[in-house]
């Protein structure tokens, strides 16, 4: 019996292949966009985990110097005092294929069981030490290191962008004398209080974990996830439409089956089984598409993460079975969500329920009111999150609530607008047109809701990106005050550089900094030279009248917006820096693109408090003159390699390229979401086309040609798309405000001003009209070519 019923149910799809295609396509696209984003996130997180394991010594505590490196003598003293520690040198190696992080390790003292120790054992100690040492690296990293003198051993399990070497090899390659940190082996150690006397100037750091990097990049991944979710939701609109229509079209069949003795429970179970089959097929297709999307986007994401956060992510995908399972799971879950209402209705379907195949397209006023009520609830939840919420989750509740409320309210708003148009209509054809459009609205509402979401997301994200771009470029223009940036290999040559540039430049600004802990988090402390150019160019968000004179005299500090917002700091508050230096805050400055806190103090105070800082970076002012001759002189006459200099224009271009890459991913997702929405319109119109005949045939019989009817269908789609677009503008701007003022603030710590870009809206409006026009072209053409016999049959058949 089960096979008989199933064959009857499945026979519907054989007769309606386009509907089946719609269902599979919608679900596949939804799954693809979701699982593609998940694949990117998973790949990035896996890389963070590997990197943190290796860099953080596999969860071991470390001894680090308060400033600079740990001298070899201090290490020796600690070992003699009974400290079981292992030295590490940490630096960057330039290969032909770019920078690679190099860790120098002592294979004899490294605690057993750590990821690095295991990697060395895997490679073989004799090969690791070798005659001139060897580098261990992941295969992709090994390729980037090719061309050097040191031999390279490829190890697949190592984190990407990282190389391991014997401590002596690393010291030679990086030209180091001391150590960056000492790994503390597990087990009993001497009393920590004796540390200061045994080796002054060092302290114990707790174990680092993947969380540190994860925390920095979480907001980026959250943004991607939110986009994936939005695309998934838009895809589900298609699935919901296709399933809802299929259920309504088969309503007479369900009724007949019930009348012929099939129980409601069996019918629902078989329908669920049928949907499960489709979900698994579409899920598998979606996962394959998702893989392609992820492979397409991952290099861009990897570049962004590397550029902004310094997080190295492999640019190629390796997919875990769990990802496949979760992709199929989300497809099944999505299908269940999209078909829950339909299945519930079938479960409650009485054998004598009226067979109304067009009920799907004839939503009642009550249903619309219910939807409006739900919209109000979503809006209330969004407002509650705005007023009472805190953190990123509240931000996303606000975002989701706003979008859902707008989408749910759309049919009612459109119905009201169409009713208004109907009242102003002149002549019977116009009146019929508006009335018929209103009648069609419920059938098209899901597709239009999907279009609204896609357009609003486009406007919102577009406004955010463009506002960010405008602010960021303005900020870069102000902030990059020097025309040329120079890095010395030998800090001792600093005074010579200043003397060399005395007649060749209008000023030299040392750019020295130290990394340290401020208010419990990582931060950079920069020193600024006493030069009026800072006061003229640095954008300050909050300040005292005499801010710069107080900073320059060493009486106050500036903090970046991130640090100020994170710890609710404002001018006048005291701030304690490493070494116990406490200064009042004199101002807050914008610092876009920097995920961590930053403090600016007088250069003299920086060098006096932290004498061991690296004095190698300088900004050179040329008064606007071309930097090329100066660069040439610095290379030829002073011996600074070309690679140690970067001019303002190149730095700006580099910063902007990072910016562009960051938003390239969201741009692609935006376009894909709009494409899915366009597809939703096409599928809705195509599936509605056959159900529209009983409504159109009488109009045809009354004197309209089929071509006229086709044109009217086209105009109708364009009008509905145009109205939806107009309504999407305020929703998109609301979304942009949430992204700029709430999400960005929570995720990155900075707030951006919002700018409006009406030209972009016009372009988007034309694009949505083109999408709707294209989507309706085929159904309209089919209607215009419909054989009269098909239309006559409407009158001949009792349906």
């Amino acid at each position: 019996m089960t096979a008989t019923i199933l064959s009857a149910l499945l026979s519907h799809w054989r007769r309606q292949p386009f509907q089946l295609l719609t269902l599979i396509l919608g679900l596949s696209l939804a799954t693809a966009l979701w699982s593609g984003v998940q694949a990117i996130n998973a790949e990035a997180r896996k890389s963070y985990g590997q990197a943190a394991d290796v860099l953080g010594g596999g969860g071991l505590a470390e001894i680090v110097a308060e400033t600079g490196a740990i001298p070899v003598e201090a290490y020796a003293a600690l070992r003699r005092a009974g400290w079981r520690v292992s030295p590490v040198i940490d630096g960057w190696l330039m290969g032909d294929g770019g920078r690679v992080r190099l860790l120098g390790l002592d294979p004899f003292s490294i605690p057993p069981g750590t990821p690095t120790g295991t990697a060395i054992l895997d490679a073989g100690l004799d090969r690791f030490l070798g005659a001139s040492g060897a580098l261990l690296a992941a295969p992709s990293t090994a390729e980037r290191l090719q061309g050097g003198e040191t031999s390279i051993i490829a190890l697949p399990d190592l984190a990407p962008g990282l190389a391991l070497a014997d401590i002596a090899t690393a010291a030679r390659l990086l030209d180091r004398t001391g150590f960056d940190r000492l790994l503390i082996a597990p087990g009993p150690q001497p009393d920590p209080t004796t540390l200061a006397t045994t080796a002054p100037g060092v302290r114990i750091e707790p174990p680092a974990t993947a969380e540190d990097l994860g925390r920095l990049t979480d907001s980026f991944h959250l943004n991607l996830t939110a986009f994936g979710l939005l695309s998934f939701a838009v895809g589900l609109f298609i699935v919901n439409g296709a399933v809802g229509l299929a259920f309504e079209q088969r309503r007479p069949v369900f009724r007949t089956l019930r009348a012929l003795g099939v129980t409601a429970r069996r019918l629902v179970a078989l329908l669920a089984a049928e949907l499960l089959i489709f979900a698994l097929i579409a899920g598998a297709i979606g996962i394959l598409l998702g893989y392609l999307i992820a492979a397409l986007l991952l290099p861009g994401v990897a570049a962004t993460l590397r550029g902004i956060y310094g997080a190295t992510v492999e640019g190629t995908l390796t997919l875990a079975p769990l990802w496949w399972a979760s992709g199929l799971g989300i497809a099944v879950l999505g299908t269940a969500m999209a078909s829950a209402t339909g299945l519930f209705r079938v479960a409650r379907l009485a054998p004598l329920a009226p067979a109304r195949p067009r009920a799907w397209a004839m939503a009642t006023g009550r249903a619309m009111r219910r939807q409006l009520f739900l919209a109000a609830l979503c809006l209330a939840a969004a407002l509650a999150a705005l007023v009472f919420g805190d953190g990123l989750v509240a931000g996303f509740i606000l975002l989701g609530g706003l979008l859902l409320a707008a989408a749910l309210a759309l049919p009612a708003v459109l119905a009201a607008l169409l009713a208004l148009a109907q009242r102003t209509a002149t002549g019977p054809l116009q009146t019929w047109f508006w009335a018929d459009t209103r009648q069609q609205l419920p059938g098209l509402s899901l597709a239009l809701m999907a279009l609204l979401l896609a357009l609003a997301a486009n406007i919102g994200v577009g406004t955010m990106v463009e506002s960010f771009r405008k602010t960021f470029t303005g900020w870069l223009d102000q902030r990059l005050v020097s025309e040329l940036y120079v890095t010395l290999d030998d800090p001792a040559r600093g005074p010579d550089l200043i003397a060399f540039l005395e007649t060749r430049a209008t000023g030299v600004l040392p750019i020295w900094h130290i990394d340290g802990e401020v208010l419990g988090g990582p931060a950079e402390i920069y020193g600024v030279a006493d030069h009026p150019i800072y006061a003229e160019n640095w954008p300050l968000l909050a300040e005292f009248p005499d801010t710069w004179s107080r900073v320059n005299s060493g009486q106050a500090a500036l903090v970046n917006e991130q640090l100020a917002r994170r710890h609710d700091l404002s001018p006048g508050d005291d701030l304690t820096l490493p070494q116990g230096l406490t200064l009042p805050i004199a101002g807050v400055y914008s610092d876009y693109g920097n995920p961590i806190g930053q403090v600016v103090i007088a250069l003299s105070l920086l060098t006096q408090t932290y004498p061991q800082i690296d004095r190698i970076d300088y900004g050179v002012l040329t008064g606007g003159a071309d930097t090329a001759p100066l660069k040439e002189a610095l290379t030829k006459d002073f011996g600074i390699p070309e690679s140690n200099m970067i001019d303002q224009a190149a730095l700006k271009a580099f910063s902007l390229s990072i910016f562009e890459r960051t938003f390239a991913v969201t741009g692609v997702l935006n376009v894909l979401t709009l494409g899915v929405a366009g597809l939703a319109i096409l599928t809705s119109l195509m599936t509605l086309a056959s159900m529209r005949l009983p409504q159109l045939a009488p109009v045809w019989a009354l004197g309209l040609t089929r071509a006229q009817l086709g044109r009217i269908e086209l105009i109708r789609a364009l009008i509905l798309a145009a109205l939806t677009f107009v309504l999407s503008i305020p929703v998109g701007l609301g979304l942009a405000w949430v992204l700029l003022a709430v999400i960005n603030l929570e995720a990155f710590g900075w707030r951006l001003p919002m700018f409006l870009f009406p030209r972009d809206w016009i372009r988007l409006g034309l694009l949505s009209l083109a999408a709707a026009g294209l989507a309706s072209l085929w159904p309209a053409w089919r209607l215009a070519r419909k054989p009269p016999a098909d239309l006559i049959r409407v009158f001949a058949q009792e349906r």
Binding site: A8, S11, R255, R258, L260
Partner: protein, 219 residues
Amino acid sequence: MLLDVRSLTKRFPGAEAPVTVLDGVSLTLDRGEALALTGESGSGKSTLLHIVAGLEPADGGQVVRDGTDILGLGDAERATLRRTQIGIVFQQFNLIPSLNVGRNLSFQSELAGRADAHRHQALAETLGLREHLAKYPEELSGGQQQRVAIGRAVAGGPNLILADEPTGNLDETTGDRVFDLLLSLARDEDRALLIVTHSERLAARADRRLHLSHGRIQT
């Protein structure tokens, strides 16, 4: 006796007060007997048929079939009864549009686990549908569709056939043919037939006829 309907009552909610559609209806039906039920629109004929088919509950009375009151059965048991013991013919045919004529014809017998290819072939022959087996319902005329519906109802070998206005959508000639077909299929295999019709002319050809008016049997 195959069917014994006793004091059947059915009310539907009305605008002000419940409307009594069946008011103590009683009737009996023997094997091999064809009973025609006539009455004006809204007299309760279809409701009576639906209750006997187990498609609709009643507010009072009994429908005893082979010694069992079907009103006391649960949904699943009533479904089993419809699947295996009752053949229903609807005015709107209610064929499955996505299945071809052959599959529609054998559909209920397959549900009942009594599919018999030879019997289906013979039925198709009897019903004049042999050359239409590969077609879909929408390709058939109303009379042909109703013949498929009759074939579906009898293919599983039920002992009770319930027909609700089976000729209501057909012209007189086609209606006559369909009615004859129903009568012959019922009589030939000793089945009971309860047929609801508006047509006094057709009703006169049944073994017995009852007239329903305002929910009561008129004698």
